[in-house]
Subunit: 429 residues, 2 copies
Amino acid sequence: MGKETVKLGLIGLGTIGSGFANLLKNNSSYISEKSGLNLELTRVADKDQAKVEALGFSDSVIASEAKEITENPEIDIVVELIGGLEPARTFVTEALKNGKHVVTANKDLIATHGKELLGLAREKALNIYYEASVGGGIPLIRPLKHSLAVDRICRLVGIVNGTTNYIFTRMAQDKLGLSDALAEAQKLGFAEPDPTNDIEGIDAAYKLMIMSSLAFGSSLEQDRLHVEGIGRVTYEDIDYAREIGYAIKLLVIGERQPEGLALRVHPTLVSFDHPLASVQNEMNAVYIEGDAVGEVMLYGRGAGAMPTATSVLADVTEAARSVVFRPNAGVIESDFTHLPLIPIEELKTRFYLRFLADDRPGVFAALANAFGDENVSLDMVIQKRRVGSTAEIVLVTHEVKEAAFQKALGKVMAIEAIKPESSMIRLLS
Amino acid sequence: MGKETVKLGLIGLGTIGSGFANLLKNNSSYISEKSGLNLELTRVADKDQAKVEALGFSDSVIASEAKEITENPEIDIVVELIGGLEPARTFVTEALKNGKHVVTANKDLIATHGKELLGLAREKALNIYYEASVGGGIPLIRPLKHSLAVDRICRLVGIVNGTTNYIFTRMAQDKLGLSDALAEAQKLGFAEPDPTNDIEGIDAAYKLMIMSSLAFGSSLEQDRLHVEGIGRVTYEDIDYAREIGYAIKLLVIGERQPEGLALRVHPTLVSFDHPLASVQNEMNAVYIEGDAVGEVMLYGRGAGAMPTATSVLADVTEAARSVVFRPNAGVIESDFTHLPLIPIEELKTRFYLRFLADDRPGVFAALANAFGDENVSLDMVIQKRRVGSTAEIVLVTHEVKEAAFQKALGKVMAIEAIKPESSMIRLLS
């Protein structure tokens, strides 16, 4: 069999784009040998011409604008690596309209406009590949689409943001406060100069939406997703959690429940017995529970140019096979039925709570009443160090509905002897 | 698009076969909805008719012998779940000759006759799917064939035998000897009545061969693979290892080196910092290092009827797509070039050694000379508990060629004051 040549157009030569171009250059003969496919990078475009030139592409390859790629009749696959919503959405739409498969690492785009874009792709008998949008180099999207798609996935729990995981690791290991750990992360390139999307859980929420759409066959709408960042977690919380056998991680949690889907992103106490507790530094991992398969965990580098470029190249290779052999139809793809999202108030969780109280008679009784009134039962109450006449109290509840806990918490915080600062962190059950 | 019906024949209704039949019954409408494929179990066969009847198949489905499946012109895919070399090899060969795709969970068969059978499949433009042959429900074969196949994998380290991992976990947690832990494992169904293949590392070696063929594109020949079982590891070793920061695991290790491939199976000290160290009980995990992707770990239930059946069903679904849409060609499949295996004598490793010695002057000097003569340098020497005039000595070497270490070890064991019983365990570097 002769080699089939498949022509690629690449839009975006930032870190991942350059990584992809280099990986393709290094590995294309190896891939060609194994698969019989010649992947040819026909055209590249970036608004920053200096980047294009720095990579040493010949003039015939350099496009002066994205249109020369999305409208180029020679090109079979468009690789979109510019990120963000616009103009990425326009480029991807144009590419699909012109009959090209699309490979992207753009989580914002897929989480926000995935339904529309995948619908358009389906209409055109094309596909959009987005392995690189979640978990960098970790095979996640493909296992969810293939290996695990034959099972009923009941739960998916993940550490999918490397920045916050690195921050928590440094806080725990070096007894740092959040801002010092963030500064370290920025110095080492594990956090962006503007880390808002990471710290506030938005990056993780996008990734949860993408994985949930595949794991639970639900649509990609962001309504009523509970997203909480790591801003209020202190070194003391990490230290107390450790004392009682838990690590603190920013988790994304998706669960299929009888009433619908429960999706949330928040800092979480994870028992040291759970494999996610030992995922350190900038590493990512997703723990999946299926009715038949039991537990599966996929772990690896969730970011970085080369790991992410590997996922892009794996997608390009799959898309190229599709161009040559048209095997697309029949892939188990999300069918985008809309499952109702259960509001967090309805979910049952265990809670960790830390606060300061004047150390005087009657405080514990008032506390017990506040919780008792809402049927919140306590699993653990520890009175910690005392400074002057102030005691620090750490408690963990049994499983209780969020709404009831919040009501009890309101009453607790209204007790005169209790100081207004407090930490509340949910547990993974 | 109408639903396409794909017809399956199932040979073997043991634990995995029955699990697969049940999973298919429960999930086929769900899969059909998502993929547009109707998977129909057309014929089943097992030499034990009672098993067939117990599953409640109608008479028209029950085949009286495997031939009625492998020669049945209606059947598209043959699922072989009887295990062992014969008659599985004959059945698979017949199925391929009659134009059927094959799905199997049979690691012995693929490790031993994979080259021949995959060659025959290729000749017939068919495929053999064997995700379930390694790691039960963990997606391993498919990621090695697709996601990670675009990268250069340099190393693969795995815990792929649940029985021995369970045994080591119980030994460590409950201070048990190997035979007590084995008895526990047998009682709980984590070990076979005859555990030889597990305990001696043979099961793990088969799985290493299968994964290596994909990870390194090498052929599946078993020559000169170093395989060492867990029989000589004691509770004391596990305890000492923990003291110096290591867990003991039965590992399969495959490495691409300039001179060829290094493949081995042996009990190994794994630093507690390594993600494999926290893989407990009967769980399995494979840690893969690629040039571009960095580290990836795939973790889950490595055995059990339902996890394994999930992998079989995922393969069946992929094979069914192939039947309907013929997307086979171009999958990155092992190309079976023969890479030389490097003999273990040539490999550089760190060694843990434990032995007893008469506590008298000159022993340490003799020891130091024995190691020094072979240029084996020591990283750590600990004189442990003393009983009467006998001291227990634990040492760890720096990295050294196996041959040099073995020579030094011979000299050490010849020292008159040193008792003949000793433990030698390699470290994961």
